[in-house]
Symmetry: C2
Subunit: 478 residues, 2 copies
């Protein structure tokens, strides 16, 4: 039997080995477990509960903006995947191929979906006839497979969970508006719900999605200064529509091609939460996404009335918050570090002395600040505290992001910053992919997104010195 | 372009061709669409919304009873699937095999999960060490693939969506209690939520799950008298635990094997809703599961104040019910049959005359009964009506079920009933699989479940005439 060690283990400090810290936290907090399939993770109850909270938030926002959920098949016939040239080139090398059903060899190979553009296109071709049928604003929650060589929990796994939205619109303008609406939705999701500040903008052609005209991205900065692409929203123009022949009769009864978008966020998000907010004692979860918002720890449970008083407090708090009361026979100190390690935003301690004084001890996970709150106002105070923690976590992460964005005017400055200062660099670029490749090859940094607006005339490309076309955020990335 | 005909088409009457009626309803109500993959369906927004309501109900009940959601990988290595002999024999002939990742042939084939017992077992082997770790009450929502030869939307598809629960317990008693707790949960789900009465009980050895010691089932009767297996709950004993070596240290620090269960319901449920409740005009959805509970149809929209009055009514109703107000320029009569066909339980009509009289016209989908309700009490009355519709639908389905259960004391009676009377037959059986096979071969009826209690001494097997061991529900089945 391969049994894991259940003793409380030390977590590697972040600044000693960030990658090892990440692995330790994911394992100790019981977010995932390795599975018998290489590169595919098991999402354990605590990790999956975070994903469920994310799903609930995003699903609600999508429904409020008129999107509908559907379910497309898991498998895609090879001939369908091959219809759009750029798309198949982008994905074919990393798909899993089904060749047999039971004992029978299939006449045509099927791939396990790496993404579902072609399935939505083939469906839209069938169901869209008239301008009255538009827009179609479909989304699905599912898992997809991409045969990655090196994998890490949440960040890069052969199978991952996500939502993929696929929409069809009458005009280019409508589709572009949708692309940006979703970009904003993702930005709000990161900032308001996960307390993670992001920069956002257009990807360069090199970094855009296989088959898209434009890809917008939200990018977050991790504790180590590296970028995490947090979510992307693609504008397809009528490229897929022409290949899949998705036409509608407009109000003059003339046939027009639809214009499309697609967009997604995945369980990668959870990797971002860990790497933005965590500390050397483990996870720190923003209250809005935390499966447990309040850990209630009874003190001196053996004393008369303590269990009852805690049960009463739990019943009151349970009406408003996600509370876990721990009545197990472990020592309070053990429980403290357990819930700290799991990132529970607020701990309450309630023992005989507190009961006597009509108070509850409250300890914030993010600042370790310890307070006494009156038991008769506990709902109100806990609500305020959770709100404060959420806001403070965002403010700290925002400060940490903007303090670590640097400007480089030439190659030497760019090289110096990328070697010595973890973070993002703003640097001008001529628009030529050779220069983008050069920066990636020599400095291991990729363009994260294009900064809106035209550079002033004197600005030059940090790589070739020719006149600049764009200012770009560059960074090392997950 | 293969465009579907969007004109309102007639639905084949149920008693002319029930199979065609079913196909017509599924298509016309836009529940599913065929996909480019043989036997895999697309769940369209209306069909998926039904599934979401089912998920919400079942998920809540599972969480209330202490179950936690997880996500296991989609792919299973062949060697893992092969560990339990009965299990692999049951599933290997119908799995889809992945043989290549990108261009590379895999060292070991992976199957797309047909069910996930072996993955949960391998995970439990890793995470269960002590009696303190038990029970583990895990569930996942996902899709699975079984390579079926003939397929029909919802009823039998190569890919289907479901929840699969997998639990591990310290003792056989605990695991048996769980098996029955879930059976009850499924029974309540069918009866209270879907208004579908079910019979329930143990499966015979021939019909039980591959690898289980015992399989319990809930069985519903469709309009045509055929049975639909609605959900199953399996008790595994320690069979899988011994194969996968899932042991825990008990309170005396002695190693014991866990006892396990698994159980699931799938999108098949939706086929049951259609075939139990539907009529010749289409779907009839029980209010609790209906994506749209109330269709509000403005009458004479061109008249002053009608749109505004309907918007106001929509705002009031929308706070309590799932309401769809149809302000499109289609004729009211067209809208009436559209929402009837889609099975919306209650239609409200609101026009100038109603506004003047302070009333709303209400029409029940199930009985066609038309009523006038005072607009100032509309929330209360709609709530009562939806409750009444839900209860009446159950009562009608219950009557239809119990009226069509017959008793057969010998082969001739059994044959006569199965040939001439759609429904279930209660008939005694000796317990020998040869007799069960004989009934299946000659009369196309399978044992649905065992009726609790011992038959009296004079009862004999309808097939061989030997003393009866059990009374059984037999039926033709989907």
């Amino acid at each position: 039997m391969a049994k894991q060690d259940k003793l409380v283990q030390e977590i590697t400090p972040r600044d000693v080995d960030f990658a090892q810290w990440y692995t330790d936290v994911v394992k100790k907090a019981e977010l995932t477990s390795y599975s018998p399939v290489r590169g595919a993770m098991i999402l354990r109850p605590y990790g999956y509960a975070i994903w469920e909270n994310i799903q609930n938030y995003v699903d609600k926002k999508l429904k409020e903006t008129g999107h509908e959920n559907v379910a497309m098949p898991l498998l895609i016939p090879e001939s369908l995947l091959q219809k759009e040239k750029d798309h198949v080139e982008g994905f074919a090398p990393e798909v899993a191929w089904v060749t047999h059903g039971g004992d029978t060899k299939l006449q045509e190979r099927l791939c396990v979906r790496p993404t579902s553009e072609v399935l939505f296109c083939s469906h839209y071709e069938e169901i869209v006839q008239s301008w009255r049928d538009l827009p179609k604003l479909y989304n699905q929650w599912c898992s997809v497979i991409r045969w990655e060589k090196t994998t890490r929990p949440f960040l890069r796994t052969t199978e991952f969970h996500w939502q993929e939205g696929h929409t069809a619109h009458a005009t280019a303008e409508d589709a572009k508006r949708e692309t940006l609406l979703i970009l904003d939705l993702y930005k709000d999701f990161y900032q308001d719900f996960l307390a993670i500040p992001v920069i956002s903008g257009l990807k360069t052609d090199k970094e855009k999605f296989a088959g898209a005209e434009e890809t917008y991205t939200v990018e977050a900065m991790m504790h180590d200064g590296k970028a995490l692409q947090g979510g992307t929203s693609h504008y397809f123009g009528d490229g897929f529509a022409r290949v899949f022949n998705i036409q509608y009769a407009d109000e003059n009864n003339e046939l027009q091609y639809v214009h499309q978008t697609s967009w997604g966020i995945s369980t990668r998000v959870i990797g971002g939460i860990i790497m933005v907010h965590g500390d050397d004692d483990g996870l720190i979860l923003p209250p809005r996404v935390a499966p447990i918002q309040v850990a209630l720890i009874p003190i001196a449970m053996e004393k008369d009335g303590v269990v009852e008083a805690n049960e009463e407090l739990l019943a009151r708090l349970g009406k408003h918050f996600r509370v876990k009361a721990d009545f197990s026979d472990k020592m309070p100190g053990w429980k403290f570090s357990e819930y700290e390690m799991r990132g529970v935003p607020l701990r309450l301690e309630y023992g005989p002395r507190d009961i006597k004084k009509g108070q509850v001890v409250a300890v914030r996970r993010d600042t370790r600040e310890k307070m006494f709150i009156p038991v008769d106002k506990v709902e109100e105070k806990v609500s305020e505290l959770l709100e404060t923690i959420q806001n403070d976590m965002f403010a700290r992460a925002e400060k940490s992001l903007y303090e670590r964005i640097y400007d480089a005017d030439n190659w030497e400055e760019l090289e110096d910053i990328l070697e010595n200062k973890p973070g993002f660099v703003r640097a001008h670029w001529c628009g030529d992919q050779a220069c983008e490749d050069n920066i990636k090859d020599k400095l291991s940094a990729s363009s994260r997104c294009i900064i809106e607006g035209s550079p002033s005339a004197e600005k030059t490309c940090v790589s070739c010195g020719k006149p600049a076309k764009h200012n770009i955020y560059w960074g090392k990335a997950y």
